[in-house]
Symmetry: C2
Subunit: 369 residues, 2 copies
């Protein structure tokens, strides 16, 4: 006879599977007579509770808490969602689970984290959307709650804090790779469409564009200033901003953008200005970029998820423990991948009056520099 | 003095907050001397463990398991992600949490569910992507594990099974509303772009188009056949299919599509054929639809999440219990909302050679029929 299962025990004791589970896990909530019957059946069959499930439950390192915003946020929301998918998969491979919660503010998130951690529902947290002076990470460090942030601490003094474990995408290198690629293809005046400054993430990405332009083309401060614009992260805002840029006379011959949202606005602006061949590269490689045939910088979320768990689990690879200062590097900066697409949607790029089948190409090269 | 906190206890006992939590929740893993010191501090301060956190932990109804696929699935993946956002928010409002796991197949999902349920990590499950003859729901019913599916059981005999709780979008009504709207606006030949049959979800949506065409325009079987095409759910496949449709001569004067992916393909095909004014309505109201200005049928995921939890929690509203046959309706069919957009991206609809600012309109009417 094979190893008996909980179903066998339930049948033998004439109870539900849930009751057997209760006798094993929370015996106090089961009537004594029923409990005795189940325990007798367990002994008679030689049943051993599912070891991996029990290990999972008893281990202090089984559950990771992640905040998910109530509203899915437009085009860019795909990044956090993709990260949650990748984190769930990588956690599963390590017998860990991802628990979701929502929070209305950083302070509310701290309250939620406190409650989840005190209740022993969650053993560690993965935080996203970090910012300079983030009260959440300060609280987590102060309270010895294990955590990793997807996103670096943006202060000068805390980037190497061994207590603040973080994983981030090297946005600067990603944008630099994109800009260099455009220059290698012949561009002489690559423009930058970024977010209003200061912005930790946005300024970091902008530096990649600046460095490529200075290193490869010897661009001056004045040239850089003339070739860069700022827009809030909305399609219509970016469209208006880039329309103004294209009207100003200092025409760029390619554009790199801090997000796919900005890139979509740039694409619309360029197309409406008749610049249907203007190369444009976005950032985040969202489904929208794929849908409209925009090149983009991919955050390689699988690698981010693996690095997050490696930092969280420490050197022994299977338990979440508060780290000492000798536990190796406390962060991982990951180089993103440039995804190049040939514009596959004629209407966005060409005239729309020909009655021909569009040259649809769904294949694209994916490169990791 | 305010109610003492776990921090007060930790300070008083000179231990970490984690140690206090361990003494409260898993005293067996704490050294006896430390345990005594913490318990003394708890008694001295009159500390009471966070009641709601303890209630949450002890309650059998605190955690809902949801499977998340490892790979985020293109344009349509936004629907499941949006549902997870909404479910997390609505669960939070009821002091419940969402736990994510992955599975490679229905059989693997059953194994995961079994392990999570036996380990008492998860008290109930919300399943998505249901299909006829689904082994997962059969297993859940057989094993008395509480669950609700987002998606109806697609068999004739199990739609009203009181043991199978389900919530679904009334895709037929949603597509019917969309088609009627196009007819009211003057369309006489509304075409349908659907998935290959048979498809539970797809055939249901198609019926809405059929009903509207028969009821409002007296369309015959032959007319319906001439106006409908089938494509796999990819942008390039849909583009090719609709290009063929538009070449066949029986030109539709509007299109309704089973998904936004199909609708984007239809939009590209129509634009490339010069039919820049062809009204097109998709399904799912994804960020891609918003980005390119496509009208679409919205799955009202907040309402789906609320209905899911109402079914799961039963009439008393705060505990997950296996249902009897007298517990009221076992399903909720929710009418989706039609989101109408005016094409806001000139390049997709108009010629792209004018050097003018695009008429950007980000506002759209959102209607619930």
């Amino acid at each position: 006879m094979a190893q008996p299962t909980v179903e066998d025990v339930a049948r033998e004791a004439n109870v539900s599977r849930q009751t057997v589970s209760n006798v094993i896990n929370t015996p106090s909530i089961v009537k004594p007579a029923t409990r005795d019957r189940v325990q007798l059946a367990i002994a008679r069959l030689g049943y051993r509770p599912n070891l991996s499930a029990r290990r999972l439950r008893q281990r202090k390192s089984s559950t990771i808490g992640v905040r998910l915003d109530p509203i899915r946020n437009g085009i860019s929301g795909a990044v956090l969602d993709g990260f949650v998918h990748a984190l769930t998969e990588q956690a599963d491979a390590r017998s860990m689970r991802v628990l979701l919660f929502t929070a209305a503010s950083p302070q509310d998130e701290i309250a939620q984290i406190r409650s989840l951690h005190e209740g022993a529902d969650v053993d560690a947290f993965v935080l996203t959307a970090t910012f300079h002076g983030d009260p959440r990470t300060a609280w987590l460090i102060e309270n010895d709650v294990p955590f990793v942030t997807f996103g670096r601490p943006w202060g000068i003094d805390d980037m190497d804090d061994p207590k603040h474990l973080w994983v981030d995408i090297d946005g600067r290198e990603g944008v630099k790779d994109a800009t260099v690629r455009l220059i290698d293809n012949g561009a002489k005046r690559v423009g930058w469409v970024g977010w209003p400054r200061p912005s930790g993430t946005g300024d970091d990405r902008r530096r990649g564009w600046e460095e490529a332009m200075r290193d490869r083309l010897g661009a001056s401060d004045a040239e850089l200033a003339a070739l860069s614009v700022e827009s809030y992260d909305g399609v219509s805002e970016a469209t208006e901003t880039v329309v103004d840029m294209l009207r100003s006379g200092d025409l760029p011959d390619a554009l790199v953008c801090a997000s796919d949202t900005l890139a979509l606005g740039a694409l619309i602006a360029a197309s409406s200005a008749g610049l249907t061949d203007l190369p444009i590269i976005g950032f985040d490689n969202t489904p929208v970029a794929d849908a409209v045939g925009l090149s983009s910088v991919d955050q390689v979320l699988d690698r981010v998820a693996v690095a997050t768990l490696e930092l969280l689990l420490g050197s022994d690879g299977n338990s979440i423990v508060p780290r000492g200062t000798d536990a190796g590097p406390s962060h991982r900066l990951i180089r993103p991948a440039l995804v190049l697409r040939t514009p596959n949607h004629l209407p966005l790029y060409g005239t729309t009056t020909e009655r021909t089948a569009p040259a649809v190409r769904d294949h694209h090269r994916k490169e990791t520099s």
